[in-house]
């Protein structure tokens, strides 16, 4: 029966897929397990923080500024119709801290730092560097993967905060300085409407979760890539695609969780 064949044909890839998820979970557990050993060697994490965090600052800051400015502009045009342009500050701040800050930062991070992590690990594997490390009785997961993981988890929330803060300043620049919305209204509406727990903390929590997801996906794809140039390239593409989809899905889940009460 062709239907039966088709169903059984579904079975094998499905089983492989589930198996790879299980393997991924095991690797994640492995990663967490070796992490306490890193406390003795913080230099490894600091070095990676530099490559992952500092080098992303420029794109995050510029993007935040422009997103904030566009929000300010677009927000003004729309609010003006209802005479509600005083609420511009509130609009910009809420939009950034709740959603745009964490999500856009995560997407940019996946593209910039995620791909470089995947490529780096993939090439190290292709050049047998990870094998050599294993043979020298150094655990490559502890020495190479874990520092990068923690550097990513620390970087993303910080970058998201910078994005939101710079975005608010961008909105202020356009709204108050260029268009002429009342400065006091701008800030006071914002302060009245933005809650530390509901908005800022939730946004921060979102970016932490994003950081964990993206960094792990990037490292995993690089670690599992075949040691050929084509597969390393495919692995970097997979990092961006899978990270982006995870970001959207996690964002929806967390938003529903956080803002539904």
């Amino acid at each position: 029966m062709s239907l039966r064949n088709w169903l059984s044909g579904l079975g094998a890839p499905l089983r492989d897929y589930v198996e790879s998820i299980g393997y991924g979970a095991r690797t994640f557990g492995n990663l967490l397990g070796v992490s306490p050993g890193l406390l003795r060697r913080p230099n490894l994490v600091i070095e990676q923080l530099h490559f992952i965090g500092n080098y992303s600052m420029l794109i995050i800051t510029l993007s935040g500024l422009f997103v904030g400015m566009v929000l300010g502009l677009q927000g003004y045009y729309t609010l003006n119709k209802y005479g509600a342009e005083q609420s511009l500050g509130l609009l910009v701040a809420l939009g950034l801290t709740r959603e745009l800050g964490p999500v856009i930062t995560a997407l940019l991070f996946a593209g910039r730092a995620g791909t470089s992590l995947t490529a780096e690990i993939g090439l190290m594997k292709a050049g047998e560097q990870l094998s050599a490390m294993e043979m020298m009785a150094v655990n490559p997961i502890q020495r190479v993967l874990a520092p990068r993981f923690w550097a990513g988890v620390i970087s993303v929330p910080l970058l998201a905060s910078v994005f939101s803060a710079v975005g608010v300043l961008g909105g202020w620049l356009v709204g108050v300085k260029l268009i002429g919305v009342d400065e006091g209204a701008f800030w006071s509406q914002m302060q009245g409407g933005v809650d530390i727990y509901k908005d800022i903390f939730n946004g921060f929590a979102k970016s932490v979760v994003f950081g964990i997801a993206i960094t792990f996906i990037a490292l995993y794809q690089g670690y599992e890539a075949q040691p050929t140039p084509e597969d390393v390239a495919r692995a970097t593409t997979r990092t961006v695609v899978i990270s982006s989809l995870m970001i959207w899905w996690l964002d929806f889940m967390m938003t529903a969780l956080m803002f539904s009460k």
Binding site: G53, A84, A93, A165, A185, D195, I196
Partner: protein
């Protein structure tokens, strides 16, 4: 070694990140107000302040002359006690009135001050006697419905 300069950059990154977070956090709280020189405080009691918030503008003839400070509830007169921080350069007579007005149709509410005719001016700590509360939309709608119903009854 290379590690020293690396530490500086990473430290800078973390400092900037935390500073951004602080900036965001403080904005949700009560940030230091727009500093504009010296101010003197006067109080006013309102039956209903509507959606008036601290840091909202105090305007006279449409010009910002101060900022709303604290808003408290006075449980002896069952009225809202609003502190207005007026800019030092602007003086108002003792019998001035304060109204809560709305900027635009759905905009934020501010305090409008109309000067009275008294010879003496309000000093720090003085109270504005004549106040008009904010217009609450629900009351307006109720009024409208009742008036329409009354009209309808009259017609019959």
């Amino acid at each position: 070694m290379q590690r020293k300069s690396l530490d500086v950059w990473v430290g800078l990154f973390i400092v900037i990140g935390v500073a951004a977070l602080m900036f965001l956090a403080l904005k949700a709280g009560n940030m230091g107000s727009m500093s504009f020189g010296k101010a003197y405080s006067i109080t006013a009691k309102f039956d209903n302040i509507g959606s008036l918030r601290p840091q909202a503008a105090v305007k006279a003839a449409g010009v910002v002359v101060g900022r709303v400070g604290e808003i408290k509830f006075d449980d002896k007169s069952y009225q809202a006690l609003v502190t207005l921080n007026m800019e030092e350069g602007y003086k108002f007579p003792k019998d001035s009135s304060a109204k809560i007005l709305t900027a635009g149709l759905l905009g934020e509410q501010y305090v409008g001050i109309e000067a009275g005719g008294d010879v003496n001016n309000l000093a720090a700590g003085d109270k504005i006697a004549r106040t008009q509360s904010a217009t609450v939309l629900e009351d307006l709608i109720n009024q409208f419905i009742y008036s329409k119903a009354a009209e309808g009854k009259d017609d019959k």
